[in-house]
């Protein structure tokens, strides 16, 4: 037993060293490369992790080992973090911001001085030039005030990102310096009154003037964060484009619009439930003259720009949520430790302990997912992490909501009052499930993107099966038989050459089992529904949930393996959290996958649909009152 342990330890040490060696080598090679390419890149890369899970493949090279930043970067980051943390603890009065629904100018100035308006803007344009990972770290702190976090995110995660990722050098040189210092504030104008999440139906129109030098912009944009005070706006509008067949078509184009161009009016700021300090309002463009140089990318290519901005900006919500929960744990545990009930401290009660465990687990998983995704995005090359980023967003927005609610519950009635910050946190974090793509839409995105990917590869095989090709059928039957007999799936995560630390073997096995099961489920879903799966939203929701769980399991396994290997402080606690989470997720996945089987008695979808249809047909609650009589 002891010998075994020892063996495991030495192996893990060597494993850790291996990890390091490769990392360092890699870093050394591309250190120069890295510096200059810290900002976001987009478009597809051949290797993908989440998409391959749909095929029942675990692309372990993508997610193991857990990404890390260099020592110099870490030091640089820590230097940045300290003053920011100090500023948020001392100079930001969240209660006042919430109450007065405005961020005071001195707070904004403080943020500008800290450079928080240009975190990812390269240094040559006057920004901090931080990578995604470092941006995520700062997000943990800025999230302590929801209004500030949203203002900053609207400014740089979406507002100026268009210029950053798709703008040309002239545009960057013209706009980025002032945006990075916060002299100008940016906004992202996509949503319209008639199109909430359905961005394809935007009506704002840009028409080329006769001299061909300007576009005239007309239309109204809704729910624009920073809309009231933004000086530079990324606006999406329809333009007429002649395509290669010579036909005229409406395509979407992205523009950089300065308020100074004229014809831009903002409505009254919306009175919101949460993030009250942030400015959200309607922006109307009336014959706004935009020079053709201000088109981002090419005319008619706005859709891709919008997609890239949104798809890659979501990952930071994970670290933001984790930062908030970590703060909440500190606040509530102090209360639970001191408050006595029935002569016992609150923290001795099982149900209260349960809440703390939930909070710790959620914070841990969110953090792992966020930094894993950020690390993947920071890798050289052009990674496509939109699926992963969306998963982080869904998981962390829902986890945050649960955790804030649990934290409030620990305090009971006190948490419900305005004397404590919990109600504000609760209100603020409700928006997470709504903006940057609602969680419903993102689940559809996650599931369908994966289905499309898997479908392309599996179509041939499924068609053969449908034709009744004996060979293929036997192959599948044989595989199923083998799976049922052998019962072990091995993706090489554990054992010799394993990437997961031996103390997490059990969890890794659970993950592997789920991953294999998920692959075969996707195949059978494609067999059953084909391309009509688009209409099966309840099925897709389950698919997305399984995938999110799988990705979360991957993230914690990867992170904890690294922690153990390099001997981070309290890594035994991480092991505990990992094993707990994986077991929980494993059973949840099993249930979801069972529901996805054909004719599964666990599946209630048909009934759920019927209930909803009956209610919606009446537009009211259908049942009679329980006190009603017929005679």
């Amino acid at each position: 037993m002891n010998v075994n342990k020892l063996f495991g330890l030495t192996r893990s040490v060597s494993f850790g060293r291996n990890v390091f060696a490769t990392r360092v080598a890699q870093k050394g090679d591309c250190v120069h490369h890295f510096r200059s390419r810290r900002f976001i890149r987009s478009s597809a890369r051949s290797l993908t992790y989440a998409k391959d899970l749909f095929l029942g493949k675990v692309n372990k090279a993508e997610v193991f080992p857990f990404p890390e930043i260099s020592k110099e970067e870490l030091e640089e980051l820590n230097q940045l973090v300290q003053p920011v943390e100090k500023f948020f603890n001392e100079d930001v009065d969240s209660k006042k911001i919430d109450h007065e629904a405005v961020i005071p100018p001195e707070t904004l100035n403080g943020l500008k001085e800290l450079g928080l308006f240009g975190i990812q803007v390269p240094e040559e344009y006057g920004g901090l030039g931080l990578s995604n990972t470092m941006y995520a770290r700062l997000g943990e702190i800025t999230s302590l005030d929801g209004a500030i976090a949203v203002t900053l995110a609207a400014h740089q995660a979406i507002g100026l990102k268009g210029i950053l990722i798709a703008g040309n050098d002239a545009q960057k040189a013209k706009y980025l310096p002032k945006l990075a210092t916060g002299e100008h504030i940016a906004a992202f104008c996509l949503t319209e009154p008639g199109s909430g999440s359905d961005a394809a139906s935007i009506q704002t129109r840009a028409t080329l003037t006769e001299d061909g030098k300007h576009f005239l912009l007309n239309g109204t944009k809704f729910w624009i964060s920073n809309g009231g005070w933004a000086d530079i706006m990324t606006v999406f509008a329809r333009t007429e484009v002649v395509d290669k067949d010579g036909e005229k078509k409406d395509k979407i184009t992205a523009f950089i619009v300065e308020r100074a161009f004229g014809g831009v009016t903002s409505g009254k700021p919306e009175d919101k439930l949460g993030i009250r300090g942030s400015n959200t309002c309607e922006v109307t463009f009336e014959d706004t003259k935009v020079p053709v140089e201000n088109v981002i990318g090419e005319v008619g290519g706005g859709f891709k720009v919008a997609m890239n901005i949104l798809n890659n900006g979501r990952f930071s919500m994970g670290s933001a949520g984790a930062g908030m929960i970590k703060r909440l744990i500190e606040l509530t545990s102090e209360y639970a430790g001191t408050r006595k009930q029935f002569n016992r401290s609150l923290s001795e009660f099982g149900m209260i302990q349960d809440k703390f465990a939930t909070m710790a687990l959620n914070a841990f998983v969110m953090e792992s997912m966020a930094y894993l995704t950020a690390g993947m995005m920071d890798r050289p090359g052009v990674p496509d992490c939109s699926l992963e980023a969306a998963m982080v967003k869904v998981f962390s927005s829902e986890g945050s909501w649960i955790c804030v609610s649990e934290a409030l519950q620990v305090l009971g009635g006190l948490g419900f009052t305005k004397n404590y910050p919990y109600e504000r946190y609760l209100r603020d974090c409700r928006i997470l499930q709504i903006f940057e793509g609602t969680n419903e839409i993102l689940r559809m995105y996650i599931a369908l993107t994966g289905m499309q990917y898997a479908g392309k590869i599996l179509t041939g095989k499924i068609k053969e099966m449908k034709k009744g090709n004996v060979g293929v059928v036997f192959e599948i039957l044989g595989k199923k038989l083998k799976d049922s007999v052998v019962k072990t799936v091995d993706f090489g995560l554990t054992g010799k050459d394993g990437v997961v630390h031996p103390s997490l073997t059990e969890s890794a096995k659970m993950f592997e089992q789920n991953a294999a099961h998920f692959g075969s489920t996707v195949e059978s879903l494609l067999y059953r529904y084909g391309k009509t799966i688009v209409e099966e939203q309840l099925v897709l929701k389950k698919v997305a949930d399984v995938l999110i769980n799988l990705y979360a399991m991957t993230a914690v396994l990867s992170r904890t393996s690294r922690s153990i290997s390099i001997g981070l402080r309290n890594h035994d606690h991480e092991v505990l959290l990992t094993n707990t989470f994986c077991k929980d997720a494993h059973f949840k996945n099993n249930f979801l996958l069972t529901q996805l089987q054909k004719n599964s008695p666990e599946n209630n979808d048909a009934n759920i649909k019927k209930i909803a249809q009956e209610v919606i047909a009446k537009r009211a609650y259908v049942c009679s009152h329980p006190l009603d009589r017929t005679f």
């Binding site: 394809a200 997609m307 793509g437 499309q452 084909g530 391309k531």
Partner: protein, 447 residues
């Protein structure tokens, strides 16, 4: 000691059943008892228990009562008497009060209630005439005419055989009529039945069955029609149109209220009501209508609301020929996989739904043209309906460019035959006595 008597009675019943019905008047059942047993069991001597309604002190005799007395005196010879009673009682008016008066008079005139079965049958028949066929209190009052406790079986033999069959039959008939009119018995009915026939009699069974089924069927119709329809033609049109157009978004527009104008020449000009309904979907469909193709105003089509018939008109078009139907083009960049801003609206896969998961029915769709709007109007002529069309133009300006063809049938017959133009067809049908008298046993929707 009981047995021989019961046997005797059974024989009596058998004989009684064999004889023609007319001969067993008066049907109190008293004559079935052998004289010897009368005193012993005291069935005849027991005073008839009457409910409070019946046992009120007798007022001074009215002419009606006198006729009743006379009738009863004559009745030994004649059979069809009670019908006359009602006829005579209500020569001038037929109301609930009159009906109740007849029943009261009958109940009070004779403590033995001789001839009550005939009376009840006659009363049941006359109920619709008096307009009380839906009144539970009247039914209870009629039940109250039965003497109490006399017909309650007192031992197992009586219980086993049909005790006082004619009375029970009559009770069942009364309940049956209630059933046919969709009247739910109440607790009073139950108490009365228990007092008259006992807990396990046939009428009681009937009552129980009604009480079992009625509540279950009470809400069987998801689109109930009230018994009393609105008398205002505009309100009635509003009700009927929303009933046909089962779209919660559909909007009712009243294009014209009914009114009467007097022209300079002193003629009275009737302005009929025009009430239309159109849903937002219909409006968008109409806006997309090809202006070179005509739209049709058709009608009148009947709509029955219980016994009332109303008529409505349609604005419709022919089905769009296949060569003109434009497939809604979708932009692959915005809808297709990998391209959509938020999520793909369709997948680019060469895989169809598996047969085992395809639960669609193979339905032969009949191509039908779109219906753009509906209306109800006080008059079905072209002048009135073109007013409706011009009203529709306010929201759908395209209608001005589309040729409108009026394909009106001769119009609702009720409307045209009515001499009084003010009378709407529904009112006319409502007062039509022929329909009223129709027994509606099976066809009725029971409420």
């Amino acid at each position: 000691m009981n047995a021989p008597r019961q046997l005797l009675r059974i024989q009596c019943i058998a004989r009684f059943l064999g004889t023609p019905i007319q001969r067993v008047i008066p049907p109190t059942g008293a004559h079935l008892q052998t004289p010897g047993s009368q005193h012993k069991y005291g069935q005849l001597l027991r005073p008839l228990h009457c409910s409070a309604v019946c046992s009120t002190s007798r007022p001074s005799q009215t002419p009606l009562e006198k006729t009743v007395e006379a009738e009863t005196l004559k009745k030994d010879k004649s059979l069809v008497t009670h019908d006359d009673l009602f006829e005579r009682a209500a020569r001038d008016s037929k109301t609930k009060a009159d009906f109740n008066r007849v029943v009261d008079v009958f109940s009070k005139k004779d403590i033995r209630r001789r001839g009550h079965v005939e009376f009840i049958y006659a009363a049941l028949k006359k109920m619709p005439e008096f307009g009380v066929e839906r009144d539970i209190t009247v039914y209870n009052k009629l039940l109250d005419v039965f003497p109490k406790e006399v017909f309650v079986p007192r031992n197992f033999i009586q219980r086993m055989f049909n005790h006082y069959p004619r009375q029970q039959e009559c009770g069942v008939q009364l309940l049956e009529q209630m059933e046919n009119y969709g009247i739910m018995p109440n607790v009073e009915t139950k108490v009365l039945l228990a007092q008259i026939f006992g807990e396990k009699s046939h009428p009681m069974r009937k009552y129980q069955r009604i009480m079992y089924w009625f509540p279950k069927f009470k809400h069987a119709n998801p689109f109930p029609v009230p018994h009393v329809l609105p008398s205002d033609p505009v309100e009635l049109a509003r009700f009927s149109l929303t009933r046909i157009a089962d779209d919660l978004d559909a909007k009712i527009t009243i294009y014209q209220y009914p009114s009467t104008d007097i022209t300079e020449t002193g003629e009275e000009v009737m302005r009929p009501h025009i009430v239309g309904i159109q849903s937002p979907n219909q409006r968008t469909l109409l806006a997309k209508h090809n202006p070179s193709r005509p739209v049709f105003v058709e009608g009148p089509f009947p709509l029955w609301l219980r016994k009332t018939c109303v008529h409505y008109f349609l604005l419709r078009a022919d089905p769009i020929p296949s060569e003109e139907t434009v497939e809604e083009e979708f932009d692959l960049e915005m809808m297709g996989p990998e391209q959509s801003l938020f999520y793909p609206q369709r997948l680019e896969l060469d895989l169809e739904r598996d047969m085992g998961d395809d639960f669609r029915f193979d339905v032969d769709d009949v191509k039908e043209g779109p219906v753009y709007a509906m209306c109800m109007a006080g008059q079905g002529d072209q002048v009135t309906l073109s007013q409706w069309i011009s009203g529709l133009q306010e929201t759908c300006p395209i209608l001005g460019q589309i040729p409108t063809v009026f394909r009106l049938e001769s119009g609702p017959r009720e409307l045209q035959t009515t001499s009084d133009a003010q009378q709407t067809p529904e009112q006319e049908v409502e007062t039509d006595p022929i329909i009223e008298e129709e027994p509606l046993h099976s066809q009725r929707v029971k409420q």
